[in-house]
Amino acid sequence: MSATIARTGAVVRKELAELRRNRLIVVTAVMLPVIFLIGPTVTILRIKASALSATLDQRVDYALFMPLMVAVLVPAVMSAYSVVGEREQGTLEPVLTTPVGRAELLTGKAVAVFLPAAVLGYLVFGVFVAITQLAAAAPVAAAVRHAPQLPAALLFIPLLAAWAVWAGLAISTRVSDTRVAQQLAVLGSLPPVLLAALMSFQVISATFALAAALAGALLAVDCGACLVVARLFDRERLITGTRPSRRITEKEN
């Protein structure tokens, strides 16, 4: 068990170190949240105190939904790169000849993407809420503060980020081109976001029970995803690009 933790930790450290050194990735990963912060913030700040209740609700719905996208798009793109990118760089084969197990490698990669994505997601929300409370008109600030989406967003940020991470990793283990992986990962991360959007914009009546059910389902999927993605991760397919024989890989750790 301690060996597993040590190896997973090694993968996390390596991934984060690589991320830190790649300024372009850091800059682009920060740009997206900034864009998703500016739009909703400006929208809220432009609402006048005298705005009609319906208009206010509609704009708050929009403003509180958009930052959720940060928690989905950033990890989807980054995790989509993590396996196929290593394959393209030629660094995957040496790693696969070490004793690291599939679940250890994938969990390490997932954690290394999830942590910055969740932090960015919360940061965007935190900054958005702080600005609106300081600078928006009092009724508007109160509407934001009391919106049911606010606690929901705090719950859904990590759940959606984890979904996007595993969707990206799953795709990254099965495709051979980074660009394809990133495009598919963005698409693959969208289904729960669409559901959240339908609730946020009240196309579907967003009851507490429905939100809890969606959160529970996402949590279950996120927890089980490691096992599913580990099964998709096949050394032979990754190395040779061909369908593997089953003699070794079925029980491979």
Binding site: R13, K14, A17, E93, T97, V100, I248
Partner: protein
């Protein structure tokens, strides 16, 4: 030359063979990459695995390194059968240096090695890294970014990475591919150092002089195994003993000169048309007996003898004899 960084390789020497392969076959779709290959490699042996592009060398290494599974046949590496149950244990005992160094460009050399040391679960990783880098002579480059290193230094860093876990068996896939002569010589010295430490070296290469210089035995592959043995034995097996004769000008009747001499079986002209020195290859059963007789016959015929020497066949001759015409066959 190479600093000693551990004794796992020597310990493994007591457990021969290090690799045993039996009827190994790998088919990708409908394409056979490796067919019915069988051989064994003793512990501590340096074993050369030769063949043209697409001969199945890398596929064989990948099977032995548990990266891909065989379609048929079996293999034992470091005493553990290659299969689902032993894959992780085999990976603990081997190291693979692929043709491409596979270093993380944005990490330093030390960070690259530290990652692999931790994946292997090595105790005292920092010490092991220092020792491994010293062993390959790049201790002073530990904090350089891998992406800033020359190709030769990257190969060394990759070799240091392979040394970290003190493997019993080391697979080196084209370790000098793309290197200049100086870097190639340095890598050769490192490989020779591995042999001295008792590590079983499985060397895949296109460079025949490299295999001849570094390996105890070689196998020549072209999807199936064409031959295996010590380079000198393969030469003896494939080529009859012969003498290379050079005279100042072509003999008017070479058949009369070489015919009927003791221990001489036949002869053929060996190039050099025109008016200059002429060469002949004289096939013999016993060079020591034939050489004096050939010399005397040439002198008696009035020929000006420039040289008579026993023919030397290189490993390249053996290789070309066995695999000529198979270049580009399926990998």
């Amino acid at each position: 030359m190479m600093a000693r960084i551990g004794s796992a390789g020597q310990a493994a020497r007591a457990v021969p063979p290090a690799i045993e392969v039996s009827h190994l076959t790998k088919v990708f779709g409908g394409r056979t990459a490796v067919s019915e290959v069988s051989f064994s490699v003793a512990s501590g042996e340096a074993f050369g695995f030769l063949g043209p592009n697409g001969a199945g060398k890398t596929t064989t290494v990948r099977i032995l390194a548990t990266l891909i599974s065989p379609t048929a046949g079996s293999a034992v590496v470091a005493g553990i059968p290659v299969g689902p149950d032993g894959a992780a244990e085999i990976r603990q005992r081997i190291a693979v240096m692929p043709e491409s160094p596979g270093l993380y460009q944005r990490l330093t050399v030390a960070e690259n090695l530290e990652y692999f040391a931790r994946l292997h679960g090595l105790p005292r990783p920092r010490e092991r890294i220092t020792e491994a880098l010293a062993a390959v002579g790049i201790a002073d480059r530990a904090h350089d970014l891998a992406g800033k290193l020359s190709k030769g230094l990257r190969q060394r860093a990759a070799l240091a990475r392979s040394l970290l876990s003190e493997p019993a068996v080391m697979f080196l896939d084209e370790p000098t591919s793309g290197l200049d002569p100086v870097a190639t010589r340095e890598v050769h010295e490192l490989i020779a150092g591995l042999r001295e430490r008792g590590v079983t070296v499985f060397l895949t290469t296109h460079r025949l002089e490299e295999a001849e210089r570094l390996c105890d035995r070689v196998a020549i592959m072209s999807t199936s195994l064409r031959t295996i043995g010590r380079p000198e034995d393969l030469r003896a097996e494939l080529f009859a003993a012969s003498l290379d004769v050079t005279v100042a000008s072509a003999l008017p009747e070479p058949g009369q000169v070489f015919g009927g001499l003791p221990a001489v079986q036949g002869w053929k002209a060996a190039g050099r048309p025109g008016g200059g020195p002429a060469g002949y290859v004289v096939t013999v059963t016993d060079p020591a007996r034939a050489a004096p007789a050939v010399t005397r016959a040439l002198v008696a015929a009035g020929a000006d003898v420039l040289s008579i020497a026993r023919s030397r066949h290189t490993l390249e001759d053996v290789y070309l004899e066995l695999v000529d015409g198979t270049e580009g066959s399926p990998r």
